[in-house]
Symmetry: D3
Subunit: 252 residues, 6 copies
Amino acid sequence: MQLHLSTWPEIEAYLATSKAILIPIGSTEQHGPNGLLGTDALCPEIIARRAGDEAGFLVGPTFNVGQAQHHMAFPGTITLKPSTMIASMLDWTESLTRHGFERIYWLNGHGGNIATINAAFSEIYHGVTFAGANFSNATNGPPLRLHLRNWWELAGVMDLCRELFPVGEGSHATPSEVSVTYFGYPEAVKSVAMSPRIAPTGPIRDAEDYRRRFPDGRIGSDPSQANVEAGGRIVAAAVNAVIAEFRQFGTA
Amino acid sequence: MQLHLSTWPEIEAYLATSKAILIPIGSTEQHGPNGLLGTDALCPEIIARRAGDEAGFLVGPTFNVGQAQHHMAFPGTITLKPSTMIASMLDWTESLTRHGFERIYWLNGHGGNIATINAAFSEIYHGVTFAGANFSNATNGPPLRLHLRNWWELAGVMDLCRELFPVGEGSHATPSEVSVTYFGYPEAVKSVAMSPRIAPTGPIRDAEDYRRRFPDGRIGSDPSQANVEAGGRIVAAAVNAVIAEFRQFGTA
Amino acid sequence: MQLHLSTWPEIEAYLATSKAILIPIGSTEQHGPNGLLGTDALCPEIIARRAGDEAGFLVGPTFNVGQAQHHMAFPGTITLKPSTMIASMLDWTESLTRHGFERIYWLNGHGGNIATINAAFSEIYHGVTFAGANFSNATNGPPLRLHLRNWWELAGVMDLCRELFPVGEGSHATPSEVSVTYFGYPEAVKSVAMSPRIAPTGPIRDAEDYRRRFPDGRIGSDPSQANVEAGGRIVAAAVNAVIAEFRQFGTA
Amino acid sequence: MQLHLSTWPEIEAYLATSKAILIPIGSTEQHGPNGLLGTDALCPEIIARRAGDEAGFLVGPTFNVGQAQHHMAFPGTITLKPSTMIASMLDWTESLTRHGFERIYWLNGHGGNIATINAAFSEIYHGVTFAGANFSNATNGPPLRLHLRNWWELAGVMDLCRELFPVGEGSHATPSEVSVTYFGYPEAVKSVAMSPRIAPTGPIRDAEDYRRRFPDGRIGSDPSQANVEAGGRIVAAAVNAVIAEFRQFGTA
Amino acid sequence: MQLHLSTWPEIEAYLATSKAILIPIGSTEQHGPNGLLGTDALCPEIIARRAGDEAGFLVGPTFNVGQAQHHMAFPGTITLKPSTMIASMLDWTESLTRHGFERIYWLNGHGGNIATINAAFSEIYHGVTFAGANFSNATNGPPLRLHLRNWWELAGVMDLCRELFPVGEGSHATPSEVSVTYFGYPEAVKSVAMSPRIAPTGPIRDAEDYRRRFPDGRIGSDPSQANVEAGGRIVAAAVNAVIAEFRQFGTA
Amino acid sequence: MQLHLSTWPEIEAYLATSKAILIPIGSTEQHGPNGLLGTDALCPEIIARRAGDEAGFLVGPTFNVGQAQHHMAFPGTITLKPSTMIASMLDWTESLTRHGFERIYWLNGHGGNIATINAAFSEIYHGVTFAGANFSNATNGPPLRLHLRNWWELAGVMDLCRELFPVGEGSHATPSEVSVTYFGYPEAVKSVAMSPRIAPTGPIRDAEDYRRRFPDGRIGSDPSQANVEAGGRIVAAAVNAVIAEFRQFGTA
């Protein structure tokens, strides 16, 4: 069930049965010579929408621009300041909570988002802790629960990725994530020769430093291995895992 | 050409030929008994993507949550504070400008966004005016141009809508916008009887007042008339118009 | 009745009879060769004070600096960032609401303010919508109503302006607005020859672009026609219209 | 010379001779049973405008709402959060500095503003110190100088006030400041009996505490002594003093 | 009693007997050739901790970085923007108030902090005034009291300083404050010849101007006179005075 | 070498040999029945100061209040909103970078700080990436490097902790961290019986939930095992490790 394809009476009906929603959250940033700029938003979106439709839970709009300052030396990357991202996530959460949602599951597609998502959670819980407090002793706020899950850490997914791509999985612009987007958007499959075949590895710092170290954007990966079929297998595994985890989270 | 389905080398190549990009911008908010919560983000997205693919210009990610506080009494609506929206649009724009984009065309799907988009433009131009100034006389900033266009005001579109729906077009949850989304997502077509057939009209104030005045969310409209075919005709007209206008803007 | 010339017991007494107040809001920005920098703040102030005194309603202090970044290439212009203006208007409104005011009528003197004023209204209503909510279902907030009226759009005013200045009214530094300030401050009448007599027209962008397009600051106007008598006629018409509209608003 | 009654070419000409401007800054807050809500903005405005006209220096628009949270239990008071006031003063200053002003003299009418004005000065100088720095060693910024002067501390003024009102001058809603406004606005003179004749004194804390301690708003004063003639004498003394001080400041 | 060396059950027990806490607040900034960068934080910390231990009242963590932009041309200085400092002090205060503290005594070590601390107090009281207000008439907030005391203004301290250093006390990097830190940290005593023996005096503006006027950082002082014994006498006097004042404040 | 015990000429001399500084960063929050509220700030401070003195590198002031909203139901805890903490860390970093520091090593004492510290790093690097950019193509910023290290993850430390406390180390209010503070402040050793001896474990959410799950504040630990001698061994190991790591970082 997709929020953006639903009517408000459908959401009202849903809220009578569940207080839980899943928000895909990603980034718009370079993913090497053959990876899509939307990769990190598309992966959780592709997985979440299939899972939500299959299991009947609600999937909200995709938070599609995130923390990508270190990719800014590559054209097409868009980034939010962490303070802006925290303010936005707070507004999304307050809106959802205002309607009665009490469990918000953020399915994340970008490692660089993790810290800021957790900081945003603290900012939101800070509000709950001081809610109604107004400089006096407050009663307990509502049982709001926020959950962060990176799609590649869903049960069984990492193992499958390693099985599919024993060499050159790397850590940015991986064949696994590129495969997921190729499965979702087969019309966007790109065939690009990689040189070197496996990209270098190293630390992530500011944008200029990143481009010097990783001239084509990849870190440690060979995404020329990416293919639709592998993407389909990863998506299937992730869908199963997220359904199980969301079910537990939504009723905890 | 979709930014999220492109690689960074493709964007680099595009920038050698054009400094212009289109950003669809909308809202996630109730659209009456049979309208989708995503309507205002989906309409500009559907039109823009077709236009970008047909004419070869670049379409960025959709800014999918906007100004919807007055719809907050209907479940599923998500809203940003205006100050948050301004900060986000500033970050998006600074990122794009950093890569060399000089013309940003915002195709808008929500009347309630207009004021805040224009305020964000002022905040961005304020930065340009004071850029490098640092309390001294600055030289002229780069020729950044921001453009706002509401899709229903594209040349010829409003006339077509009135022709298609001479009665009950109204101003919120209109048969025209619902038709556009039905055309884009035929699997989401909903058949709901409207009562009264044409919704009341009146002023827009805060959220509670809105729900009292417009109990099912519509203003002045009968969206039960919405259909895929009408949506297709509106999209076709809008695609032609936005291509013409973007071409002129991008090279002005 | 002027707030700044009243005592607090007088305001307390006023509040027992009315919850409505009018705030003049303008800008401090260049108005061409013979127009005053204060024009956009002075026009609503001149009209409002006369109206408030005649009809006995309350006029607050003038919000005298607004959105003028595009005039920054002309000395004397002062501008607020939109985010600062929103924060200030929020503080003014919260203060007034704290005393029991429920109807705030903003009489505006500057077209460039409109978007940010409306964005500020959304920010304020956002607060009302989430007031007391604190992540739970809130009861309805108080019946706060905000109203924006540009003085030149008051009933009958535009017709009179066109009658007085059939040629060269233009859109910035108009003979009408300059006349209103000359009526209010006859000691400030300036006699300046215009060259060309009627200024060029064109789009408004950033500050440097503005000065290139409109070298003496005017847009499409010939304000050398401005005179005290015309100002007096416009003020008289506007005072009548604002009294009628405020009365209706204050008791709605 | 008043900025709001000047044209931009007049300011351009002024800047060729002086880089200094005076900004009256005050507050809108209760001033007891017979004092005007605008007192703290009107006093510096009355003095500054006479001084500027007499000596030919430039007086900007009045910053008319300030720090008045402790007066919020009295109707008509309007207050800014300190953080909002700092942001506004920063915007005013950046605008003026953009035009080439290098000496900004703030003539203040409200003791409660002093701390926040000085904090705003620090925020502005912080910008100067880090200007162009951008994480590297910056060259020196321009010679911006900010000056705060409370009108009652101008040379000779306090002595005159004590001479005029040896008993009951007090510290809020003083006969001196009320006299200044009566001189400026004789039509607003109010005759109100004070009870007790001299108000109590005590510490200033939050708004509710203030009203409990000072039920009619005065602190230690008997403003029933206020009169137009005394106001005229105080204004004359203040005008002389501010002219002398501004001249020195503007050329230092 | 030191908060950072206490357990939460000890604080819970303390709160049953007192709602008052002392926060040392200072700055990290140059203090001339032989003064420590931590001087302004160390002085109130040294005094407060001794006082708290002797009298049994609670001393919180030291707020150790403050307003020091004008010292930024000397290495080692760290400064907060005033707006950041206000936000931080607000968070500290809300946390303490959440636990039931109602009296917060800020023992300050830096003249440059005074304005911003008072602005922060206004920001905090603003919250109290509007607490629970949510656009309606609020009941009175809790009896929060904030108190600022500069350690050198404690009863008897200034007299003692003048007695100890009749010549060359000056106003920045004074022998008195340096002595206090030498008493607290005798291992950090530095012997440095001063040239000239007594530093120049003058106004404080931005950072570059400061270093030009005061090349070694001192203003009007000869801190080569500083010594451990004098520091001990000043600390003893200050401890007695702060105990007396805090006792009165905590129970007022 | 301690910044707060150094003079500015000493820092100037240090900068001629090294551009690196270490900042201890922690939290002020409950640490169970016998753990100090200052534990998370004291641990990195104790380790860092010993290391800096032994190896001759510079240690800055301790950032002593951090992310502790989930501990707010226990008296004495003080917390910053994440957005405030980011703003503060940005100000500290800009100040240090202004003096020429290029390597900032944050030695952290609190797991709950990790996300927000990393978000602050992104906010700081964002500034570097856009530095001087002003909407045009910027040259590379300076080689600023930020490093986060949790003291318990220093080489060899965790192994030693497990050896010292094979049972009941837990994850909050651990015997290891309490031992470190007891070693640093032996006068603050507290003897408190734990019941149950080993605290429960579970997820961390908002403040009220935390207190319900962990009534005395501990998670999974038995800190009654804490002792000065164990603290001394942990500190010795950590000092060695941080010296080695800082040396490498400072010259990388």
